[in-house]
């Protein structure tokens, strides 16, 4: 971004053009004579380049003051009133708030500065006004020159920065603890044979005396005088400068300073305007003297740039969003195409599968139902042989027991019980239980069988085993134990459970027991019993 700096002294106007933070052009005009016309002609070619006027004038006055430390709003009012009182006849005035006093009420320190003679600026400002040059501000070189020592890391309690200005003048700016306190511009008017250094020594000594009269120094304080000078002027200055207890001189090589600040190429003379403008580019300072009316073109230009940038940003955002939407559309199209392909592929496979389903002369549903019926009701249907085989193995270890009858059936309900008419026993024991009518014996098998009963799926097999157990003499106890053990052994077979339904001799208190013992009793007899056995088919 291009900007121009109009460095105004009492005799010269130097126009420095900066681009991208570097000084790229320099024009110098005389303040008197045809200088103004030349300046205006030059300015016509730069009518859209914002301008900063940097003043380095003898008419700049500086006053140090203190105001009570009050609220910011009150302080501004106080300062504005005082500024108006001190500098009545000029619109170009500025108040810079410094720090606070170290003792007492700790008042705020304020530096008032103004260009006491507005006429020195008027012709230049009129030219700028005529050409509608955007004036960004009017700045005092003295005010911001204090930044130079800080940028060079030269920080002293009391420093006097001495710079040369275009048009043969020297500015002395007193800086105390980084705060500007005073500045004065003196024309270089050498007497016959007087070297520049002697003149500087006289002027700086005079300045020290002035400051000392204002009680800026204590007995031990020393003023560090920093003179910005080009090497070619050094021989004319250095020999005349003698250090005292109160004053010490430091010559700052302007080429070294330029190198440290990044100013290329370095200035060709001791004049400090290029260094100060470069310093301004590095560390811009606020407007000091220009009123809002003077800055209207620059303000509107900045606003126009801001608005245009905002427009570009909004447009860029819109374009970015549009690009995002476009990419999403492309992605959506791609996904849609992929979905269509998937759908076609799936439908194709589905059609192939449907076409390939077997029929075997009957419908697929009929086949499914047929197989479902077979798998659910017939596959693994139990058989009597499978049921009896484990039981016969158990019976083999109970030789006293003899199986007479088996009534077996498949069932969906484990409580179902097949009917079994009792067998007649030839050698019944002499002692037996008398059953009440309807107890024990079961109805004929045919009585419970009906063609309308649901087909039993065969999950359960239920059987009633009727048998006899040999009783030796009157040893019913072992016969009862034998039958109980038989039931327990059957229960040990996986999937089987067995309970004694009718005991060889029912010993319950509710039953009648009849004994017919004669003169001679048989050595053995056969006692009848029944055992109910349930087998559940293991889950598949």
């Amino acid at each position: 971004m291009t900007s121009q700096f109009l460095y105004l002294t009492n005799t010269r106007m130097v126009n420095l053009t900066a681009n991208a933070g570097r000084l790229v052009a320099r024009r110098e005009f005389a303040v008197s004579g045809e200088g103004l016309e030349d300046f205006e002609r030059h300015l016509r070619n730069m009518d859209d380049v914002p301008a900063h006027i940097i003043t380095d004038l003898a008419e700049e006055d500086f006053r140090l003051d203190t105001v009570p430390h009050v609220s910011a709003r009150d302080r501004e009012q106080i300062i504005a009133r005082k500024l108006g009182q001190i500098f009545r006849g000029t619109p170009y005035k500025y108040a810079m708030q410094l720090g606070r006093e170290g003792d007492g009420r700790r008042d705020d320190r304020v530096l008032y500065t103004a260009i006491t003679n507005p006429e020195v600026l008027r012709p230049w400002l009129e030219a700028i006004e005529r050409l509608h040059i955007p004036l960004a501000g009017i700045h005092s070189a003295a005010v911001f020159s204090g930044n130079l020592l800080a940028a060079l890391d030269l920080v002293f309690p009391h420093a006097l920065l001495v710079t040369f200005t275009p048009g043969e003048a020297v500015r002395q700016t007193y800086i105390r603890d980084r705060e500007i306190r005073f500045s004065r511009l003196t024309p270089i008017d050498l007497e016959e044979g007087q070297p520049l250094g002697a003149m500087l020594a006289e002027e700086t000594t005079r300045t020290w005396q002035y400051l000392d009269s204002l009680r800026h120094f204590g007995p031990q304080d020393r003023l560090e005088v920093c003179v910005l000078v080009h090497p070619k002027d050094r021989p004319a200055i250095e020999p005349a400068l003698r250090d005292f207890a109160q004053i010490q001189y430091r010559l700052l090589d302007i080429e070294q300073v330029a190198a440290k600040l990044g100013l290329k190429p370095p200035p060709l003379g001791s004049s400090a305007e290029e260094v100060l403008v470069h310093l301004f580019l590095r560390r811009p300072v606020p407007n000091h003297f220009a009123s809002p009316e003077l800055r209207v073109n620059a303000t509107r230009r900045s606003a126009r740039i801001l608005l245009n940038r905002a427009s570009m940003a909004v447009l860029a955002g819109g374009v970015a969003w549009g690009g995002y939407v476009a990419s999403q559309m492309v992605e959506a199209d791609r996904m849609d195409g992929r979905s269509t392909q998937q759908l076609q592929s799936i439908n194709r496979e589905y059609d192939e599968i449907v076409r390939s389903l077997p029929s075997r002369g009957v419908g697929g549903a009929a086949m499914r139902d047929s197989v479902a019926f077979y798998n659910g009701s017939i596959r693994g249907y139990p058989t009597l042989t499978d049921f009896l085989f484990p039981i016969s193995e158990v019976m083999a270890v109970h030789p006293r027991v003899r199986l007479m009858q088996v009534a077996w059936q498949t069932a969906n309900d484990p409580n179902a019980t097949p009917v079994l008419p009792p067998s007649a026993i030839r050698t019944a024991p002499p002692v037996r239980a008398i059953r009440r009518p309807g107890e024990g014996g079961t109805a004929p098998a045919a009585a419970t069988e009906s063609p309308d009963l649901p087909f039993a799926g065969g999950r359960f097999q239920v059987a009633v085993l009727e048998g006899t157990v040999r009783v030796d003499g009157a040893d019913f106890r072992s016969a009862l134990g034998e039958v109980d053990q038989l039931a327990a052994d059957i229960t040990k077979v996986p999937g089987y459970s067995a309970t004694v339904s009718e005991s060889p001799l029912d010993m319950r208190p509710g039953t009648s027991v009849q004994g017919r013992l004669g003169e001679s009793e048989p050595a053995t007899s056969e006692a009848r019993f029944t055992v109910r056995v349930v087998r559940e088919r293991a889950a598949p």
Partner: protein, 204 residues
């Protein structure tokens, strides 16, 4: 601020303000239009995904049916070969029973075949499960013969004869040396056949 936001300021910056307004309008139009398009794409994408999911579910179902049918086909083929899907051929059963009796040396065999009726408790949409109740009463010298007879009948390769009841008992014998039946059995079985219902669809 008054320099910019005054009537004169607006006049001076008219072009920039108009440009900004147009840019905002264009951006809003692009934003709203883009949002509408992305929402539409999202909806259409969702519908497309749903269609693919449904098709995939249908395909999975068809695959399962194919696999089930492939497995079922083998069972079904065996059932067809056993004549389950034919009409009841009673002569076949008469011949089968006679053959089994001869083979297992049964001393006597009585049987009754009841009229065919739908098998109670077996209802399917595409086939009728029909059954004839068969009652058998057989006598033999040894219970092994009876059990073998019943076992072979139940596992006959021609037809389904699940035996669901049996009572087997010893016959009292005063003269154990004579050739007389020693064991008697009364059993019941269902003779099951399947018949496709009229109008039962293939896809079911």
């Amino acid at each position: 601020m008054s320099t910019v936001f005054s009537a004169e300021g607006f006049r001076a910056l008219r072009t920039s303000w108009i440009l900004l307004a147009l840019a905002v309008l264009a951006a809003v139009a692009v934003g709203v239009g883009g949002h509408w398009i992305t929402e539409r794409d999202k909806r259409e994408g969702g519908a497309s995904d749903k269609r693919v999911r449904e098709a995939r579910t249908r395909l999975d179902g068809a695959r399962r049916e194919r696999d089930n049918l492939a497995e079922s086909a083998e069972v079904f083929r065996a059932l067809v070969e056993r004549g389950i899907l034919q009409d009841e051929r009673r002569l076949d059963l008469v011949e089968l029973v006679a053959e089994l009796r001869r083979r297992h040396g049964l001393l006597s065999l009585d049987y009754d075949i009841a009229p065919q009726r739908p098998l109670p408790g077996s209802t399917f949409g595409s086939v009728d499960v029909l059954s004839s109740r068969v009652k058998l009463r057989a006598r033999a010298l040894h219970e092994g013969d009876l059990l073998a007879f019943i076992e072979e009948l139940a596992h006959s390769p021609r037809g389904l004869y699940p035996v669901d009841r049996c009572v087997m008992k010893r016959i009292a014998d005063d003269a154990p040396t004579t050739l007389r039946p020693r064991v008697e059995a009364e059993c019941s079985a269902e003779w099951i056949t399947l018949k496709e219902k009229k109008g039962a669809g293939r896809a079911g």
